[in-house]
Amino acid sequence: MLAMDQGVVEEWLSEFKTFPETAISSYAASLKEKASLVPALYKVIRENYSDLLEPVCHQLFEFYRSGEARLQRFTLQFLPELVWSYLSVSAGRNPHHSGCIEALLLGIYNLEIVDKDGQSKVLTFTVPSLSKPSVYHEPSAIGSMALTEGALANHGLSRVVYSGPHLQRETFTAQNRFEVLTFLLLCYNAALSYMNSSSLQSLCQLSSRVCICGYPRQQVRRYKGINSRMMVTSEFLVQLITGIHFALCNGEPDLGSKALDDVLYRAQLELYPEVLLVGNAIKTSLHGAALKSNKEGTRSIQVEITPTSSRISRNAVTSMSIRGHRWKRHESQENSIDSPDSTPLGPIPTISVTGVSGERVANGEALRGRTEAEMLGGAAEPGLDPKGQEVRRQKSLRRHVEDGTPSTGRLQPRDAVDLGSPEELMEISEVDEGICTQAAVKEGSPPIIVVSSSNVTPSIGKTAGKGLRRLTGSKSSKDKEREKEKEGEVSRKQSCGRAMSENLELLSLKRLTLTSSQSVPKGGALSLSRTASAAFSRSFEQVSNALGVTNRASSPASNHSPKENRHSACSLQEESYMEHLSPANISVQLGPDA
């Protein structure tokens, strides 16, 4: 160690003691200007036998204890070097030399696990959920998530996870060593933006060395020093990787990628899935970003103007377009006299079970659905014969394609609509999609269609309660369902605006019922679809409302309500649907007087 460095360090050691409390923050600011201090301190830490080590550690701890953020960060920047120093000495089984470093590390740890009042600190992390509105989104606009058990369990709840409280530690033992070090790295990572490049380099070095010492790769890296293997834990490696990731993106691409490789190498040998997971993700995500190693502009975050229109070609079948498609097909089943069980299921139903959802169906999707229909059927050229149009009108294209029997809907005023161009066609289908729900309300048809959160009367209580109970997972029998239908009273509602879009969602939900019907008893299928509806509404209250409404609204046509109820389950055999849901009625209602 040069005398000059020693002088700098000694000066630094002496000056802090003389400062009054009030001058600390200005002192903290002035630390940055001492260019030669930081390298000199690194040297002290690296040379384990230096006499200065103990006072330096003591001083760094004083800095940390001062509570001044800048002084704390000053200490933190040496953390990787300190950790390495500690680990290498303890691997050499000569623990006495690292006494003061150990004390410093434990000191920082013990300070960090308590808050200002000396109470144990519990770190919290709220896991965001799309089912809860946030500053960036509204749940209804997102459509559905996959209807997994987990998604339902977490519905409407924001999950908070905790870490801590942590135990105070007096000494390092083999058992708590990595627990403490992991926590210290967590603190370091929380201040990453404030770390200078020498600290980041030291972090990368620490990572590499910890991971390769004693393994064949040590020769590849030409690191001579300790050559016994160091035990690590996967949590520790994950924290290291977090730091490495930052270093990679902020001016240390070379050292960083080397370190990342070494950590991954070790994780493979140790078979740590957590580390492999995060490491692989970082590696591939940066691979695409093509890091630029510009030393000056340290940030490699670059943003360019991106085209806002979708780059996916329109006629490709996407999970969204297929939703629209299936939706239509399903409705055709409602309209035709067929039970879906007997319908040969093409490849499509199996594809997007998880993608099932209600989405806003606007023109784009309709278009997609249509073009896709064209692709599948090859029959949707404009200017087809009226029969063909009729088929399309009922959205039973797939059936048409599959068994060649156009459904027997009624040919009526819709002929007045000129189906000249594809645009017009498309628009009509849109009208259908939008309106049929209203029509359904008027006809008092299947239960699922009508949900209007605005129209809840207090008298619903009982049914709503049942609905909720069903939400908690029991399968209700078909008979129960029927009773409930009769219980409900007549109520009709106009659904418009958002309610309408919710209807659409619920309609498409029924598809889930269809696909799941293979495994679920039929009676349960309905309740499943209702359970599913939970995924979309904002809260359980609303769900209960919706269910109540559903039950009530379904009853008007009570003479055949039991059958209609099954409508949403899987067997559709009723003749009466033709009257209720046929688009013909719709266009009659909405036609000229609009």
Partner: protein, 839 residues
């Protein structure tokens, strides 16, 4: 009157066409308009000029960074129309503004930036009314700001000395443009949905999917691009957030998806908890994120009308960078997921690649964010949604497998790993991961053997992993040996295991695990001196390995050096003070070579440790994956150590296939009973199992001290936690025996055996009791079974010998006595198999 009416209808129609971009209808409408004579021709000129310009742009869309168009016929026409409208000056003021703005835009398109700016200088853009403006005008204003910004930027690059003021003006132009563009898009969508509802019987063709033109795209994005280019991260992030907080429209979906992802990238790559500020807070005045030289002159501006933002009560607002990144990624994911191209036909391969790319970036970032917080369970669910992209995509499959593994869903993870192996047969890590799972709590030994064999068969390709492969193979054999009920099979597996461990050790001489398992295997087959040699070697390689130390202690106890063993245990405990396995062994050793009182003190100490370890943890910290760092660190630490002796028996210790099943039954039964009684048993089971174990050990010490009442009390404590555990029942039987109540004891042992048919100690005691009840042949049968199940326990042999003796079968009895004697000479204080065998 009628003329007036129809005139205004035409005007509305024109407004609608302009808003919806139906330029082809304009000429016809202009003709009608001029026929009505309600306006001058200048309006018509303006409209025609606009129409020409817009149609030109629609047919020849501008691209970022491309050269300006030279004058061409449609543009010249547009210019002549507009000049006509402007020159006469008969237009209403707002139309005059429109004309100037359009002229400016035209000039920009033609590449004449100075000219464009002079046009813009004629209109004060800030004066153009935003409130109650028709929709098309909102778009026009937004475009005008963007165009102005573009022109200013072009000018400042051509004459370099750009002042900070100028830069600021440019940014303000873009920001305003972006804000108004967002407003315009929201209004346009609103109008569209209204239009959809009261559509006339014969509706006109609906507008196509809205597309942002070049100008709006620039306006929306250029501001933050400049911020980031200048190294002003704070402002860039702020701008991102402003755009994202505006209520989504169909047209902004793709933009939002991209921006959300980019912002998440920045939050994950460039920020940390301390430099973070939440979206609802003001940014810090000074931030380490910004380049030091970047200026902080930010001109605040207010617009009379702004786009709607997400509002309402209880909006979730992130408080930490990872939280925000996660939220953004979830939003981005939901959109990326929707665009998954499902069709596999070759024509769509480009689309597939695109959709896969955009999604896998999002999933990688999600992995980074969730991995940081240890939320592997949630991650595995997210990655499962990615599976629709995953056909033949190794990375996605592998990540799913790893996340399942990290989330503890072992069985599924193995299945997914199989697919990974198919996709990438050369990677030795994958089958190794599978073996790790198989020999863990899945206990799928045959599958494990297959996977391990795969690694071994890779020969040199597996390089360093070959040793691991042999190690894995050895572990599988070793576990199979424990499971085997036939002596011959057992010995064969033991031999195979030894061979594999030796191979592993010769391939990786510095791997302490290979040496340790070699030692363990030798110990299990009671080659104590050899085992001691290897365990010392293992300790030289890894001095503070807890299992090696434990094994050393057990080996010493097998040689009856109890004091040395106790010393070793105490030394190990100084490094692992909270290791219950060591403590259990310590209790045993203390009863033997010190006094039961000391053993009881150790039990008390264990209870204290248990309390500090588990009571301290947050009550909500119960579920899996709920800890911030990972599943509770304490959990994890104990998983390797404590659960294994739980799964096995504390006595025979063998991780026996049957006992795995029994402990599952036990778990299920006690979970069921815990539903009725309100015992505080939420969360992971093993802390409670540990507690029960402690009580049972204490009970055993009391039994050794001949104190049935105390022993019963301890057993009751354990029984309150796990009333149907075979260990508890066994201990009850022991107490009953101590009290001389043989019938009770018999019943208890029988119950224990009903729950865990392979519980050796119950079997042995049952045999003894039957013997005492003079039911020799039944006793003989039970003891024979016990000896068969665990041939290395001298107690079984001894009891069997006594029974045989009582039956008068002296020859067989003496054989058995001899065996018991031999076994006793190498009997450790706790079975060697309590040491975990895992990768």
């Amino acid at each position: 009157m009628t003329a007036r009416k129809s005139g205004s209808r035409i005007e509305t129609e024109i407004e609608r066409c302009r808003s919806e971009g139906q330029w082809d209808k304009i000429p016809e409408l202009v003709r009608q308009l001029s026929a009505k004579l309600i306006s001058t021709d200048d309006v018509g000129e303006l409209l025609l000029g606009e129409m020409k310009l817009q149609q030109f742009l629609k047919e020849n869309p501008l691209k970022q960074n491309c050269s300006p168009r030279t004058a061409c016929p449609p543009l010249t026409e547009a210019r002549s129309h507009l000049t006509g409208a402007l020159q006469r000056g008969n237009l209403r003021p707002e139309l005059q503004q429109e004309a100037s703005v359009l002229m400016g835009k035209l000039c920009y398109v033609e590449g004449d930036h100075t000219e464009a700016l002079t046009h813009f200088s004629r209109v004060n853009l800030d004066d153009m009314q935003l409130s109650s403006a028709p929709i098309y005008r909102l778009a026009m204003i937004a475009e005008a700001y963007a165009t102005k910004g573009l022109c200013l930027e072009k000018m400042s690059t051509s004459c370099p000395p750009s002042s900070a003021e100028r830069d600021q003006e440019i940014i303000t132009c873009y920001e305003k443009s972006g804000d108004i563009a967002l407003l315009y898009l929201q209004e346009a969508e609103k109008a569209l949905s209204v239009g959809m509802q009261n559509r006339s019987p014969k509706p006109g063709p609906v507008s196509q999917e809205q597309e942002l033109g070049f100008f709006l795209e620039t306006g929306l994005q250029r501001a933050h691009v400049i911020h980031f280019k200048n190294g002003n991260l704070t402002r860039g992030v702020g701008r991102f957030r402003e755009i994202l907080r505006a209520v989504e429209t169909r047209t902004t979906q793709n933009l939002r998806m991209t921006i959300a992802r980019q912002l998440a990238e920045i939050l994950l790559r460039g920020m940390c908890e301390q430099s973070y500020w939440s979206p609802l807070e003001d940014p810090p005045a000074q931030s380490p994120l910004d380049e030091p030289q970047c200026t902080h002159t930010h001109t605040e501006y207010t617009l009379p009308r702004r786009a709607r933002i997400y509002m309402g009560e209880n909006l979730f607002c992130p408080q930490e960078n990872t939280e925000e990144a996660l939220l953004l990624l979830l939003i981005s994911e939901s959109m990326a997921n929707r665009d998954a191209v499902l069709s596999r036909i070759p024509e769509h391969s480009a689309d597939r690649v695109l959709s896969l790319q955009s999604a896998s970036v999002v999933y990688d970032l999600l992995t980074i964010a969730l991995g940081r917080r240890g939320q592997y369970e949630m991650l595995s669910e997210c990655l499962e949604r990615a599976m629709k992209f995953a056909f033949e995509e190794f990375h996605l499959w592998y990540q799913l497998a790893l996340s399942l593994m990290a989330a503890g869903k072992s069985a599924r993870a193995v299945k997914v790993l199989k697919e990974c192996i198919r996709l990438k047969p050369d990677d030795p890590t994958i089958p190794l991961l599978a073996v790790k799972l198989c020999i863990g709590n899945l206990h799928w030994l045959d599958e494990g053997e297959c996977f391990a064999q795969m690694v071994v068969d890779m020969q040199d390709k597996a390089a360093e992993f070959r040793a691991k492969g042999y190690l894995a193979l050895g572990l599988v054999y070793s576990l199979k040996a424990t499971d085997a009920s036939l002596r011959g099979v057992q010995e064969e597996y033991q031999k195979k295991a030894l061979g594999a461990f030796q191979r592993a050790q010769s391939l990786a001489p510095t791997d302490h695990l290979a040496v340790f398992y070699l030692a363990l295997q030798l110990a299990v087959s009671r080659q104590i001196p050899e085992a001691l040699g290897y365990v010392r070697q293992a300790l030289q390689l890894q001095g503070d390995d807890v299992h090696s130390l434990h094994l050393l202690a057990l080996l010493l106890s097998a040689q009856k050096h109890y004091h040395d063993a106790l010393n070793i245990i105490e030394m190990a405990l100084s490094e692992y003070p909270e290791n219950f396995m060591l403590l259990f062994t310590k209790v045993k050793l203390e009863t033997l070579c010190r006094s039961p009182e000391e053993a009881l003190l150790t039990c008390k100490h264990m209870l204290q440790i248990w309390k500090s370890c588990y009571n301290l943890t947050n009550p909500s910290d119960s579920g899996r994956g709920s800890s911030l760092l990972d599943r509770a660190v304490a959990d994890r630490r104990q998983l390797n150590t404590v659960t294994l002796p739980d799964f096995s028996d504390p006595e025979t210790g063998s991780v026996h296939a049957l006992s795995v099943a029994a402990s599952r039954v036990e778990q299920a039964l006690s979970e069921a009973s815990s539903l009725q009684s309100s015992t505080p048993k939420h969360g992971p089971l093993h802390p409670w199992m540990t507690l029960a174990q402690i009580w049972l050990h204490a009970a055993e010490v009391y039994i050794g001290m001949m104190k049935p009442a105390e022993a019963m009390a301890c057993t009751q404590e354990a029984a309150s936690l796990f009333p149907t555990s075979h260990n508890v029942l066994f201990m009850k039987g022991q107490v009953a025996e101590l009290r001389g109540n043989l019938e009770d004891a018999k019943r208890c042992y029988e119950e224990a055996l009903a729950i865990s048919p392979a519980h050796i100690r119950s079997m042995q005691r049952l045999g003894v009791i039957l013997y005492q009840l003079q039911r020799f042949s039944l006793a003989e049968k039970v003891l024979c079974e016990a000896v068969q199940l665990c041939s290395s326990s001298h107690l079984g042999w001894h009891s069997l010998a006594e029974v045989l003796q009582a039956q008068g079968n002296m020859a067989a009895a003496s054989e058995c006595f001899l065996t018991a004697l031999q076994l006793e000479a190498s009997n450790p204080i706790m079975p060697f198999t309590i040491l975990p065998r895992a990768l």
